[in-house]
Symmetry: none
Subunit: 143 residues, 4 copies
């Protein structure tokens, strides 16, 4: 696994927030996990609800857990709800199956990070995450 | 976040119970959480079932977690059951997606508390919560 | 089990708070559990820390769980720490082995409630709980 | 409770990291929680071990839970190990009783945030947290 440096994580967060403010979204919580699932960087804008960080985290962690973006996990949750419920249990609850958990891949295709965003509609959350990842020169995999 | 004083929480509880007795509802459990999700005040009327407090708590806590009244969480649970199940897991189970978990907003729109009520129909539970919040001069946001 | 009416629970809370203010203690969280371990009434004074309710609850719940006041559980924790750790696990964490969790017994000796208090020193917490229980005409069993 | 704005949380993180690099410490994980216990901002320097974020989080969360810095919780853990183990259980495990979890108080004494730092010695972790809090014009309460 290529390590994601903190400087890249901060670029992702900054660009995600810039996009969120450009789109005038509701206050967001964002988290960047490295390839191990460890929190690399996170911020919550002013006015976020009590558990926004945990929701954002669950989007990103679920994506890493299964190796697919949380949009794809959401599709699978419609087709196979008990599978997704079971995996949610397996990972201790940290799996939120709606768009906004996006994998970041390096040039060789390896997953180096996942970003989770929550606070506006899931589609808007995901659009910001994608913008953040691309600003760091990585490829966004929404699932 | 403005602090919710205990005196205001007690006003909310008293007015909620008064409304419940006026409507001759079944015995209720009620809980007021402050903006941090901490229990500020709670009562269970005589005759409530074993886990009424936990149900009332889950309505209020879920509302704070996502920043919307539990009625709106219930609507989302119909559209996206796995999302709501996942968030329930994320918050440790304390999320009950039916009406009766109502946010209390101050004049500037900020959430300063949430009240959860359980024991009668969800609509009746919510009506009492709303009456309680308004008696304290706050705005009820049912979702 | 004799039921503890809400009116008695409120008498306990009011008298506990009156004693706390007379002694000029730090802000307290208090909870009255009925004989089933259900929350009957609770309040948190202004200025309590984030998890004071949970600590007060764990004192009361542990007392009910083992049928002895939390002071006695604390003594046992010194003699047999692994026993108390194991029971804590068995009850899902809701056991705090220091004074302040006091059983309320009716005239026939039956346990009808437990009160948990947290916020000042454990000895002061317990003194207030005792005053509250006696104000309701019940016998306090501190362990 | 006064809200901690994101800009203040970022000032705390930046100043904490600056102090850590000035002292040439091992790689740190840092987290700023707001008064609700919600993650407001976090970073992990390059080279931190797998669960450094969780350790830092537990220092800060424990401090908020009990309303005292994690240094004081550590002293209590020596005197009353079962009490601290029990509270750790009560708060879902998020309590790490060594220095490095520091409360940030506003001018009126109210707790507006807690910062947790982990990665070097606990004393060094705490020194950085203190520098970060003071850079934001708040008062550090180490316990």
């Amino acid at each position: 696994m290529t390590d994601l440096p903190l400087s890249a994580a901060q670029t992702i967060l900054d660009a995600t927030l810039t996009e969120a403010r450009r789109l005038n979204l509701k206050p967001l919580a964002l988290v960047v996990l490295d390839g191990r699932g460890a929190v690399k960087a996170a911020v919550a804008e002013d006015g976020t609800s009590l558990k926004r960080f945990e929701v954002a985290h669950g989007k990103a962690y679920g994506a890493l857990a299964l190796g697919i973006g949380s949009r794809a996990i959401g599709k699978r949750a419609v087709e196979q709800p008990t599978f997704v419920a079971a995996v949610s249990h397996v990972v201790g609850g940290a799996l939120v199956p709606v768009p906004g958990g996006v994998l970041a891949r390096a040039g060789d295709g390896q997953v180096v990070a996942a970003i989770g965003v929550s606070g506006d509609t899931s589609d808007n959350d995901e659009a910001c995450a994608k913008a953040g990842i691309e600003a760091a020169g990585l490829t966004a995999d929404t699932g």
